[in-house]
């Protein structure tokens, strides 16, 4: 019995080692262009900046969805488990992280739609913009898990509104400092 337990433990350890050694760094993805459907506007400016710029108009509380094609450019089948904008804490543009388990064979692409909430302006100065330059793709591959920051075709820029457009903001900005709450 004892030998069996030791053997099982060894096997578990070995399997864990195999899992840990899975070359998740070989998983790679590419994104297609982003499309937007929501309660506010996304304006695409092809000539603004080296890659162009998508400007998303901020309306406090507005929601919408970003649709993007994710293509598996790696050598192994990978399961995409979630997508988000990889943004900082209390991002102007927050993406609820849906757990999606969608498998992509090498070379295969699928369209994903993620929800967006425009809800954190109180933590931003009215002169400030937030720039979202990549999509964070979380995935599993051959038993291992990882994430990749994959560059968007064009950065998405969101300009924080004036205080009148941000009902939660206070004139005392220290209370809205997003490093302190």
């Amino acid at each position: 019995m004892r030998i069996a337990l030791v053997g099982a433990a060894a096997l578990t350890t070995a399997l864990a080692g195999v899992a840990a050694a899975v070359p998740v760094h070989t998983a790679d993805f590419a994104l297609g262009g982003v499309t937007w459907r929501g309660e506010t506007a996304l304006t695409s400016l092809a000539a603004y900046g080296p890659r162009g710029t998508d400007v998303l108009t901020y309306r406090h509380g507005a929601t919408g969805s970003l649709t993007v094609t994710v293509r598996n450019t790696g050598r192994f089948p990978a399961t995409v488990t979630s997508l988000d904008l990889g943004a900082e804490r209390l991002a102007l543009l927050s993406v609820p992280s849906p757990r999606r388990g969608v498998e992509l064979a090498p070379g295969q692409g699928r369209t994903f739609t993620v929800g967006v909430v425009l809800g954190n302006c109180r933590y931003y100065h009215e002169r400030e913009v937030a720039t979202y330059d990549h999509l964070r793709v979380r995935f599993s591959v051959i038993g291992g898990t990882g994430s990749r920051d994959v560059r968007l075709t064009r950065p998405i820029v969101v300009h924080s509104p004036m205080i009148v457009g941000c009902p939660d903001r206070k004139l005392d900005r220290t209370r809205d400092n997003r490093t302190s709450p």
């Binding site: 092809a46 000539a47 400030e128 005392d172």
Partner: protein
């Protein structure tokens, strides 16, 4: 080249949603009717009524006045003094065209700090009725000229055409100070706010140490700010918003975290004019001001129809900045400023590096060293820039001296409408058109020595009708980042022709606009806060402070270096306040003695 053939490559995926015009930091605002006029100075005899404010220290201060006539006038007023606080005098005004005289002294306005009416305020938008009923929620002194009982926005009560005048020999003899509470927080957002106060005339005093603005004029038709000093504020020294018929003259504005003088959303009186300038009507005239050692010497989001002339703009991070970048400002996009006969120089002060990146600006406000040279920038600008037009139209930059700005003398670039929430197709290319840069003298100190700008003219190659002509530089030709050998488009040649710019140059502000003093002080991809190198062929001018290593753009002779060890000016109460105040006083004396005071005084 293809991009040049596709001028309108914008796709608005969702139609625009137009919003109301929002005010700077505060309520939704509108331009006044424009039927008013700029007030003129009113003598004691001409006033409909006279009220006098003084402090117990005023008598001794008056005794020190050297000018016998002025001293006698002050003594006469001292006998009429019935108020110790300026707000109390304002509240006592019963007739339009009243003069309030403020005798020499330090005015803290303690009754305005925390009256009972402020208890319910939670820190949000201050609508006009609240300004009237309890202006103390944000202002040390409130002048509200419109009765809230009617629906209009017209000045109609006794505070219309109010004149407030300091009676000291110098404007620094009468000081309105906000300062800090015992906990180190700011006492007030604003010093004096004139709100719908047509005909407001303010003269000869200093306002300092406020969380937002020392002097604030809002929705007012007709105002003068004359010989005022606005310094050491977290945002603006002088801020005017949605106002018309303004005159700001002989002012001094320094050590402000945004700009020294800000006529934002100035009345858009020339919006339909296709002439660049000069024009016959401006919303505000700013002349003979000295704006220095601020993050921005001048700024104006939607700074429309500003006539800016004969000013000194120096030692800021950037000199004159106007933009169409921030949404919610009436009068967008910005148009028709006229800059002429100004000296715009040595705007290389890297306050972000010195005070933000060092952590000083993360301290509680009372411990940051405001009043002793600290500037905590709230707005990102390219350090080392003389003039920056970020999305402006038909600005006329003519016959200025622009030199010793180590990044660029003048920057002009496009700001698409989407960045200010205007998503219509036409708005994406409605800025950076028709700007003229003519007859400026670049890269040369008035003494004749060479003090080059990093680049004289920086342009993103976008816009129609922009032109450069008759500018001179030293020791060689005018420099620019324009790649074509034919040089920048000339005015006589019709100016620039293409609405689409160079993508490699456009959007330069986007990574930097992520800047946030508290949370994002050094955005990735932004080089605006890197101090530009001192031009190799720069020569020192006689009497000029020596320049230290170009690495940080800081000058040994800067006041900030001189008094950096001096504690901040305190709230004036609590243990040790006397000593702190004394040290602060020493700092103020140093400020007064060290800084140039180019402005002549006028006593009438």
């Amino acid at each position: 080249m293809l991009r040049r053939l596709l001028p309108f490559s914008v796709v608005a995926l969702v139609l625009a949603m137009s919003g109301p015009a929002f005010a700077h930091e505060e309520r939704a605002s509108q331009f006044p009717s424009g039927k008013g006029s700029t007030p003129t100075y009113r003598t004691y005899q001409q006033a409909a009524d006279r009220l006098v404010v003084c402090k117990p220290t005023s008598r001794a201060a008056i005794a020190r006045i050297r000018d016998a006539k002025l001293r006698a006038f002050n003594n006469k007023l001292l006998g009429q003094c019935r108020f110790q606080h300026l707000q109390a005098a304002v509240d006592a005004v019963r007739r339009q065209r009243t003069n309030i005289y403020v005798l020499p002294g330090l005015y803290r306005e303690e009754p305005s700090w925390a009256p009972a009416c402020t208890k319910a305020y939670t820190g949000g938008i201050v609508e006009y009725p609240l300004v009237v009923s309890c202006g103390e929620v944000t202002n040390l002194v409130t002048v509200a000229g419109d009765s809230p009982q009617d629906a209009d926005r017209v000045c109609d009560n006794a505070l219309c055409r109010l004149q407030i005048e300091g009676t000291g020999e110098r404007r620094e003899d009468v000081v309105l100070r906000g300062g800090f509470t015992k906990s180190g927080d700011w006492v007030k957002h604003n010093g004096i706010k004139a709100d719908r106060a047509d005909g407001f005339y303010l003269r000869n005093l200093t306002a300092e140490l406020f969380k937002e603005n020392a002097l604030y004029v809002h929705e007012t038709d007709g105002y003068v700010l004359d010989e005022v000093n606005a310094r050491h504020n977290d945002l603006y020294g002088i801020l005017t918003f949605t106002s018309d018929h303004g005159l700001i003259e002989d002012c001094d504005a320094s050590f402000n975290g945004d700009s020294g003088v800000y006529p934002g959303s100035a009345a858009d009186v020339n919006k339909d004019s296709t002439v660049t300038g000069p024009l016959t009507r401006y919303a505000v005239e700013i002349r003979r001001c000295n704006t220095h050692h601020n993050a921005l010497g001048f700024s104006g989001t939607a700074g429309n129809s500003v006539w800016f002339h004969d000013n000194e703009v120096h030692d800021n991070s950037a000199g004159y900045v106007t933009d169409s970048f921030v949404g919610g400002h009436p009068g967008m996009p910005q148009d028709h400023a006229w800059l002429t006969h100004n000296r715009i120089y040595r705007n290389n002060s890297n306050y972000v590096e010195r005070f933000v990146h060092s952590g000083i600006c993360a301290r509680v406000p009372g411990k940051r060293g405001y009043g002793a040279g600290t500037v905590c920038p709230v707005f990102p600008v390219p350090v080392g820039t003389g003039v920056m037009i970020a999305g402006g139209n038909r600005n006329f930059v003519d016959a200025n001296q622009i030199y010793d700005n180590w990044r660029s003398g003048v920057m002009l670039f496009w700001v698409p409408g989407a960045l200010r929430d205007d998503t219509s197709l036409a708005a994406q290319y409605d800025t950076s058109n028709g700007n003229h840069f003519t007859r400026n003298l670049l890269g040369r100190h008035p003494s004749g020595v060479v003090q080059p700008n990093g680049t004289d003219f920086w342009w993103d190659e976008q816009g129609i009708g922009n032109c450069w002509e008759g500018n001179r530089s030293a020791p060689a030709a005018v420099t620019s980042n324009y790649p074509l050998p034919v040089g920048l488009p000339t005015c006589s040649g019709g100016g620039s022709l293409l609405p689409v710019g160079n993508p490699a140059k456009s959007a330069t502000l986007v990574p930097c606009a992520r800047y946030n003093r508290e949370d994002e002080p050094d955005p990735v991809g932004c080089d605006w806060f890197d101090s530009p190198a001192r031009p190799a062929d720069r020569q020192a001018a006689r009497g000029e402070p020596p320049v230290v290593a170009a690495a940080d753009g800081w000058r040994v002779g800067d006041l900030t270096g001189l008094v950096a060890a001096v504690p901040p000016v305190s709230g004036g109460s609590g243990p040790g306040a006397g000593a702190t105040a004394l040290v602060g006083l020493v700092a103020m004396v140093l400020i007064a003695r060290v800084l140039p005071r180019p402005l002549r005084r006028r006593w009438s």
